[in-house]
């Protein structure tokens, strides 16, 4: 999982649980060359001075039972909400909590309607439009769930809680293809827009190392977006058979959670890339951004073939280009203050 650290030298750092259940950080070579360092947090100081934000975020991560996109995001959001990444990031963290709540309400409502439509055991009290009569909808939902629960081997009270939990889980994928509900579709759209922007930029440049970098980034984005679209469709299609979905949920909710989480795993790390690019407003900044992005481009998860049937050879060809050297003072001299400020702005613009 990519961790949204604000310390410049820790850009693109990933975290994983080690064999002894402690955390291991996978840090890019600070010289800009190839390769990574795997180390515990205590060794990070040999790389530089982590910001207070990063120290607190790391402490929060150390208490996580599972390392997933959701748990890392929540830890980062809680840290930003304290004000440790600046005022704008604090406001954004508070707004994001409201946005997530909106996504959850939308997903719950959609699942409820889908279930009522499929089961159709309770007639409408009036021919009102869908959703226009909340009391009627609520009554029909309760009756539907009461009818369904024993048929799934569950007590009558199980249904409401199960549907609510399922809605919370589905909220990230947006449930429907219309609108902009769901964090993952919003992130996929941001990646799509960024990829288009990079492609447009390529058209204005003469060929060179940077253009080669940019083309490779576009290729990996295309693969990622195609697979994300497939995984989102797969996740959303589960709601076509709500009874079947609740049956699986009653037996093994983690099985559903894993399928729903796939697109978010696939997009892990891309938000940082989009932000690096979008904050670079001119050619010079974009040339530098491409070098930074090249360090961050995620490796496709090993499970991708199992999830999608897609076998990619991108990893083998990724960035075989001549490495572009970084200035010796970058991330350590006076520019470090600007980079921290920029990274904090990233926290303010995270989805």
């Amino acid at each position: 999982m990519v961790v949204p650290f604000t310390t410049p030298v820790l850009g693109g750092t990933r975290v994983r649980l080690s064999g002894n259940r402690g955390l291991e950080l996978i840090v890019h070579n600070p010289s800009g060359g190839r390769g990574v360092y795997v180390m515990p947090w205590t060794a990070i100081t040999s790389f530089g001075r982590p910001t207070l934000h990063d120290k607190v975020l790391n402490t929060r991560m150390a208490f996580l039972e599972r390392i997933t996109p959701v748990t890392i995001r929540e830890a980062a959001r809680a840290t930003a909400a304290e004000g440790l990444a600046g005022e704008a990031a604090m406001q954004a963290a508070l707004t994001a909590i409201e946005t997530d709540e909106g996504d959850r309400r939308f997903a719950n409502h959609h699942l409820l309607l889908a279930l009522i439509r499929q089961v159709n055991v309770v007639p409408r009290s009036s021919p009102a439009k869908t959703g226009s009569d909340l009391a009627d909808l609520d009554a029909r939902a309760r009756q539907t769930l009461a009818w369904l629960a024993p048929r799934l081997g569950q007590p009558a009270t199980w249904g409401v809680a199960a549907l609510s939990s399922l809605g919370d889980t589905m909220a990230s994928v947006g449930v429907t293809t219309s609108g902009d509900a769901g964090r993952t579709p919003r992130l996929a759209k941001r990646l799509h827009d960024t990829r288009e922007d990079i492609s447009d930029w390529i058209g204005t440049q003469s060929d060179g190392d940077r253009v080669a970098y940019a083309r490779t980034i576009c290729s990996v984005s295309d693969v990622t977006l195609t697979m994300t679209a497939g995984l989102l469709a797969q996740a959303r299609s589960m709601t076509d058979d709500m009874v079947g979905l609740l049956r699986v949920w009653s037996a093994d909710p983690d099985q559903v959670r894993r399928i729903i989480a796939r697109p978010e795993w696939l997009l892990d790390g891309w938000e940082q890339i989009c932000l690096v690019w979008n904050f670079a407003h001119d050619d010079a900044a974009r040339r530098a951004a491409l070098v930074e992005i090249a360090e961050y481009v995620p490796i496709l998860p090993r499970e991708v073939h199992e999830w999608t049937g897609y076998r990619s050879d991108l990893d083998d060809s990724l960035f075989e280009h001549r490495p572009i050297l970084l200035n010796e003072d970058w991330r350590s001299g006076a520019t470090v203050f600007d980079l921290i400020a920029r990274n904090e702005q990233f926290r303010a613009h995270a989805i």
Partner: protein, 419 residues
């Protein structure tokens, strides 16, 4: 300058000058906004010429106009008429208007296309300047290289004999302007090593340029892209004949001499650093210390080493003065004076000021005086610690910037324990 258009509304604009010279920065920016809206360049010049030194430090964001875009590449070399001497590696400001008119007339349809590209933009539109400049500068160089002296050249008050060499030198800079801008921007961002392709492009055919033009190009590299200074030796060696090599060597020496002489003068960089915006001076000092280091480490510049000590001493003094003023005005005074709790907007401004101070301090330490900055930063930390109007988290943020994350962490844990 000798026409009536400098008279405005029945009065001579010179009546306004004494008031203008005493105006504060805010008032000057407001006046500029009015002047930039006026269409008469003569009135603008009459009003603004006495303010040029203030404008150079203030770096106001002015509308991007054709002439301004055209001369962006030579901006660091432009001086007022009274500051110009024959043989200097500078461009006298009165020469700009007739040259801009001449170039514009020679560009044909491209002039309108450029106008369209920059319409409504200001000088902070970096990408627009890059793109419009790439279209304009090489063509402008062609026009300038072949155009006869403008008919209104005599009105500049400059010698008639100056035109040919000045036009050829400006043309030389404009021919390489896009690459010079590329390496200068990389230097400013500080992320990448020198773009060798851009440097190679500058060096291609540089021996064909007039010596004055070569020297101007070298001076621009020293001022804007000091990391590339070590490559100037390559420029000198790129001549095909011994005469060309000698001419290039001479041009490089002239450029370095001009830069060092400017640094040694009483005014020199002092005004830019003392009066410059805090957000800008850190970068300015970084470029200067980089250049000094390049001169110290490059064997070809060894002859200039004895001059550097005095420059470093002066730079150190000026930086300490600017840091102290920035600290007082931007951090200590607002924290001491505030009666209401610091809100989000005020906190963001305080953090920006603290960062700008740290950028200046980090660059200035390379000029000397590290103990002084340690003391000044302690003073900054004390101002933050004793401020009554800061929440604990906002205090931690400011302490992190001025004293480092370790100090902020202790404060953070104490704040958590106390709540």
């Amino acid at each position: 300058m000798g026409n009536d258009s400098s008279r405005s509304g029945g009065g001579d604009v010179s009546d306004l000058r004494p008031g203008l010279l005493e105006a504060d920065d805010h008032k000057i920016r407001r006046i500029l906004a009015v002047v930039d809206g006026a269409v008469d360049p003569a009135v603008n010049r009459a009003l603004l010429d006495p303010l040029r030194p203030r404008l150079a430090s203030l770096k106001p964001v002015r509308p991007l106009r054709f002439a301004r875009l055209l001369f962006i590449p030579i901006d660091p070399l432009t001086v007022p008429a009274r500051g110009w001497r024959p043989g200097n590696l500078t461009v006298p400001r009165p020469a700009l208007a007739p040259i801009a008119k001449l170039v514009r007339a020679g560009l044909g349809d491209l002039a309108q296309a450029i106008d369209k590209m920059i319409d409504g933009r200001k000088v902070d539109a970096i990408q627009t300047i890059t793109k419009a400049g790439e279209a304009l500068w090489p063509r402008a160089a062609e026009v300038l290289a072949h155009a006869p002296m403008p008919a209104d050249w005599a009105e500049t008050g400059l010698p008639l004999t100056l035109y040919a060499s000045l036009a050829a030198s400006i043309a030389a800079v404009l021919r390489h302007a896009a690459q010079l801008r590329c390496i200068a921007q990389d230097e400013e961002l500080g992320a990448l090593e020198t773009d060798n392709d851009a440097v190679d492009n500058i060096m291609a055919n540089i021996a064909k340029e007039p010596e004055l033009g070569c020297a101007m190009i070298a001076q621009l590299i020293l001022l804007r892209s000091p990391h590339v200074a070590r490559l100037l030796g390559r420029v000198a060696a790129s001549g095909r004949t011994s005469e060309e090599k000698a001419a290039l060597r001479k041009a490089m020496d002239r450029a370095l001499e001009a830069v060092l002489s400017h640094m040694e003068r009483d005014t020199g960089f002092v005004r830019d650093i003392v009066n410059g915006a805090l957000a800008e001076v850190g970068g300015e000092v970084r470029r200067m210390t980089t250049l000094l280091r390049a001169i110290e480490t490059e064997a070809a510049f060894a002859g200039h080493l004895p001059r550097l000590k005095a420059i470093r001493t002066k730079l150190d003094e000026v930086c300490q003065t600017r840091f102290t003023r920035g600290l007082t005005e931007g951090l200590v005074a607002p924290l001491a004076a505030g009666s209401r709790p610091v809100d989000g907007t005020a906190q963001t401004e305080l953090e920006m000021c603290a960062r700008d101070l740290r950028k200046l301090e980090t660059a200035a330490r390379k000029a000397g005086g590290p103990m002084t900055y340690d003391g000044l930063l302690l003073q900054a930390a004390e101002a933050v610690r004793s401020a009554a109007n800061l929440s604990e988290m906002r205090r931690c943020r400011l302490i992190e910037i001025v004293s480092g994350p370790e100090a902020a962490e202790s404060m953070y844990h104490k704040a958590i324990r106390d709540t």
